[in-house]
Symmetry: C2
Subunit: 237 residues, 2 copies
DNA sequence: CGGTCCCTTGAAAACGTTCAAATATAGTGG
DNA sequence: CCACTATATTTGAACGTTTTCAAGGGACCG
């Protein structure tokens, strides 16, 4: 994946961060990126990475573990905005404000690479490639946020959720046909805007159809085609 | 609003574009922005500004009129992604791709200021303020997209829609207590993920409560408090 | 004046939620 | 090692909101 030996020698974990933020930089640029990076964590399960209203000054790449972002609505119910796997960048939606607009919490043991945003933005003015990468990260998130906004059935949502997870694992070179999710049913429900009971029932139905195999947090995908067909309505790809 | 007399003398409409894209630039910078701007339109009602799959190379500020972006789902049903009033920037979600991921169509007579994105990004590397403004525009859209993703009732969605519209008019110095919307009930329904019949019924109920006054596309807000209360669940502010 | 598209209204049906309760799992301390 | 508790998950049944289907009215445009 990161076949840039020099960068790896330079600092293996920070090279990984550089990969998270963008590719194609020379050694000097990597060195400049490196000084912006701060390794933070580990965060324990349930520990907050940041809270709504905290001063925003950095974005972070997940190095290992899983996190979720969420807000609490007026009736105190949790709305999960997204899940963040290793390689994902968290905190982008805060850029337009001076404070984080949501909470972020670790779902298991989480390690981060934190980047000062003012500094990285300043660096970006001298590195067009980095600027473009940041633009793309931001723009991608706009599309991703719109994804679940549609008017979809519980089955379509769940299928899309599973396929998206699988794709994200695959894009990181991990096993994508069988994985262990870090989130509870309730987290999934809050993300998909369904009741936890509905999540449970849909998973049951998928298993009865022999499309998946579920055992607690372990999920195996048996009939990707069927799931893809359902998910297509949501994912449009 | 635009109290920069020089800029206005320089080119009134382009000064307006500069205002759309960002403030606080000196005369030289405005001149540089100016050469990037291309006035396009008018587009007639129903005419497309761009279509899904078109090559992406520019973003555009709406100068007058109203547009919507939408995608067509697998069953051929339209999903409205957003409405764009004068001053709004359209096309930001395309930055991560080389092609537009959605369609944009004029709802009435529309004029645009179009900016070459590669050029404006290049300029941004020399103008930190512009870069930051672009980052903020993008980040704002992430938040806005997440807005309607929640699990809200038809009443809450409609109230939020009306209040948001009112606020956007107000922020442009326009009448915000009574306005004429350019979109059909079906457009609103496709945006709020409701059936057109539901939109009709909710508006009826609001009018029966004397919260609003509706006559075709004309909408007057009578009890902003009641609407705000409902909308709060969605807008969180 | 006729046609088309938009909007409204009513009744029935569907889907997901809520409520209630049973079951299972992991962590804790005896 | 086992009981015990808190939390997570599953399941069933009733309920409610929104959708769907069907039809009627109304505005605008030629």
């Amino acid at each position: 994946m990161a076949d840039d030996g020099d960068a790896l020698n330079f600092c293996s974990t920070c090279a990984f961060s550089a990969v998270c933020i963008g590719n194609g930089y020379d050694k000097d640029h990597l060195r400049e990126l490196h000084v912006l990076v701060e390794h933070v964590g580990p965060f324990a399960e349930g520990e907050h990475l940041f809270r709504e209203g905290d001063d925003f000054n950095s974005i972070a790449a997940v190095r290992s573990g899983t996190a979720k972002t969420y807000v609490t609505d007026t009736q105190g119910r949790e709305q999960v905005l997204g899940f963040f796997l290793p390689g994902d960048v968290i905190g982008l939606s805060a850029i337009s404000e001076s404070r984080y607009p949501c909470n972020a919490v670790a779902l298991d043991r989480v390690l981060l690479c934190r980047f000062s945003f003012p500094n990285i933005a300043a660096l970006a003015t001298r590195m067009p490639g980095l600027q473009q990468h940041l633009f793309r990260l931001l723009s991608q998130d706009i599309g991703r946020a719109a994804l679940l906004a549609g008017n979809f059935s519980a089955d379509e949502r769940m299928a899309a959720f599973l396929m998206q997870l699988s794709r994200r694992y695959a894009s990181r070179g991990l096993e994508d046909g069988h994985f262990r999710v870090a989130m509870t049913r309730t987290d999934i429900a809050n993300y998909l805007r369904l009741a936890p009971e509905t999540v449970s029932r849909v998973l049951r139905r998928f298993q009865d159809n022999e499309w998946i195999r579920v055992e607690r947090r372990e999920i195996g995908l048996l009939k990707r085609d069927s799931l893809e067909t359902l998910a297509r309505a949501v994912l449009r790809a």
